[in-house]
Subunit: 404 residues, 2 copies
Amino acid sequence: MIKAAVLGYGTVGSGIVEVINTNKEIIAKRLGDVLEVAYVLDLREFPGNPVEKILVHDVDVIMNDPEVKIVAEAMGGVEPAYTFAKRALENGKSFCTSNKELVAKHGAELIRIAREKNLNFMFEASVGGGIPIIRPLIACVTPENILEINGILNGTTNYILTRMTEEGLDFNDVLREAQQKGYAERNPEADVEGYDACRKIAILSSLAYGGQVDFEDIHTEGITGITPVDIEYAESMGRAIKLIGRASNKDGKISAMVAPMMLSKDSPLYAVRDVFNAITVTGNTLSDVMFYGKGAGKLPTASAVVSDMIEEAMKYGENVKILWDEKKLELAHYSEIENSFFVRLSKGEDFDEERVVKAFGDILQVVLESRPDEYAFITPVMSEGEFLKKYESFENRLNMIRVG
Amino acid sequence: MIKAAVLGYGTVGSGIVEVINTNKEIIAKRLGDVLEVAYVLDLREFPGNPVEKILVHDVDVIMNDPEVKIVAEAMGGVEPAYTFAKRALENGKSFCTSNKELVAKHGAELIRIAREKNLNFMFEASVGGGIPIIRPLIACVTPENILEINGILNGTTNYILTRMTEEGLDFNDVLREAQQKGYAERNPEADVEGYDACRKIAILSSLAYGGQVDFEDIHTEGITGITPVDIEYAESMGRAIKLIGRASNKDGKISAMVAPMMLSKDSPLYAVRDVFNAITVTGNTLSDVMFYGKGAGKLPTASAVVSDMIEEAMKYGENVKILWDEKKLELAHYSEIENSFFVRLSKGEDFDEERVVKAFGDILQVVLESRPDEYAFITPVMSEGEFLKKYESFENRLNMIRVG
């Protein structure tokens, strides 16, 4: 029997206990041993809940029990998760987590400590919920020079954009409805401003490029500025607007960004609707592969944590190599990232088309019959810096969206 | 340095050498050592090709070189691949392969031998080309009771069905064109009759359920009977016809099948076009995850083989547990598998609608304006056996397709 502890009995934490109980037999068969949750740590009481029997309020009970070999954390936030992770590893326990803040901030250090202790620090559930993406990055695309990762990494924003697209609704109306349905938080900032996706692409790019990508370095834009008119334009071009987390390696120049992008039908991400997440990985010899599924939810996320617990149980005392060095990876500055851009200008009386062409070069004009008062176009590929300088010289600018 | 040998210098074999040469540095970084192809086995000569320097015609040279730790096979066919795999393992070499015939037929035995020798037998490229699916099944969905696997596992047939759908073309015309373009073999039987997909779903179901699923036991239908009219009907219902390999576990009753199915837009496989492959895995707590990409092609397939070589190099002398027992898994008989069915009958003068309703129960009639001479409908869910008995009692039957 292998004893484990679960830190936090919220949505994911209680899901972990549920997955292990529900699939006891199949887990025992695959693991070749019984995985038992010996403790659950939570400050709250759960009167009448079977978890009471294994509930503890003091983390020391877990840390000091030498029989506990695996600690799974689902509390969220950097602290006290970080302190608990270090203590667990230093006390001879492998650690796994669904906590993207913890992983984005301290992943590299915790991976190093686990390696030094011949233990493991795993985090499959920290990106994409139940979608296998961390393990495939570590163990499957190993021969690849990873040219690009593109991800729809946040279910709430994808749900909002899908509703806006399919029903022509306004951002605020859909957000309110999503909050009522429980698809969006009461404080939706982390989702709609892209902060959640930013931490996730920081984790993926750290793994893809083997060094520490600080999420603070990643230029991040959310979806609050996307309007039904933008979506109308996108649809007229056979495109869809998605919030994309992107990491790329162009001739050794690594960059990362989160922003709404207009995807064409050729992108496998184009058809990813509602709360679903998906991540494409582009390798120089592999070309594109995509991983798709529900990016959140109690049981799918818990299942990913339990897959880590099973691997850690199978490999207790043996470190699985993860290339994510503590050394900071210098990203190319945001202004150097290249893209083409969709631009909308208002067409007042003194509108000067020639000035636009002079500024942006060979543009592709997009005409919407319903918007005679606008001048919209797609620019050639140029750097963000170059684009912004040009774009900001127009006082009549309405919006701009990257073309993905 | 870790020495490897490649058996077969055809499309995939030469791709393996190319991937290793192209991505030498990144592979060395991830592996922590240099992976070197010391030998390539092929009966042919390749005058002027750099492979000449490492080309051998006698497999004994490889088997007898104790420095060769890894053998990658890309010859195809059961023999001599099977003999070589056994010899390699018995001579202390881990073995990996892209060869679905070998894996479907002898996978369980080779996995056992590898385990006994503390070596590995790996086969990521045998299903889905470059798409990571074998490793996710072995290492990611470990907590899951796998309820169902559905796969578009053959690129040629998916290409043909896509062209038929999008251009209203006839099967034979598209096949001929696909052959001219090199997307289909001159002898297309293995693809269009579903034999290729059958071996692949046999491999996936063996891994999902931990025992030997013989491909000969899997009811297999190809796409040669699909007509533009069937596709017209499917489209009128917002559905797409895809060749699906399916394995499922219903209350412990395991079944597998390959057949064209009509998928609704709700299926993530619906939008998988052209030569792309995709596999959904449905777990009882995970729900659906999908893996998507190019299911064939020289470099993507080779990349998957090289990912096996890298893992085998990292874990030389240590067996990675794969649950695929030699004991045969008894599948539920084909006639017990449940589905609903789309049926087309010709509507002669004496057509008797009441007889249809009496036979099939609550049906959903599908009317195509362009087909006044047909009576088409979807049946309730019933077993294949029950369905066939009813269906075959109608002399005026035109076609039937499962509703997926």
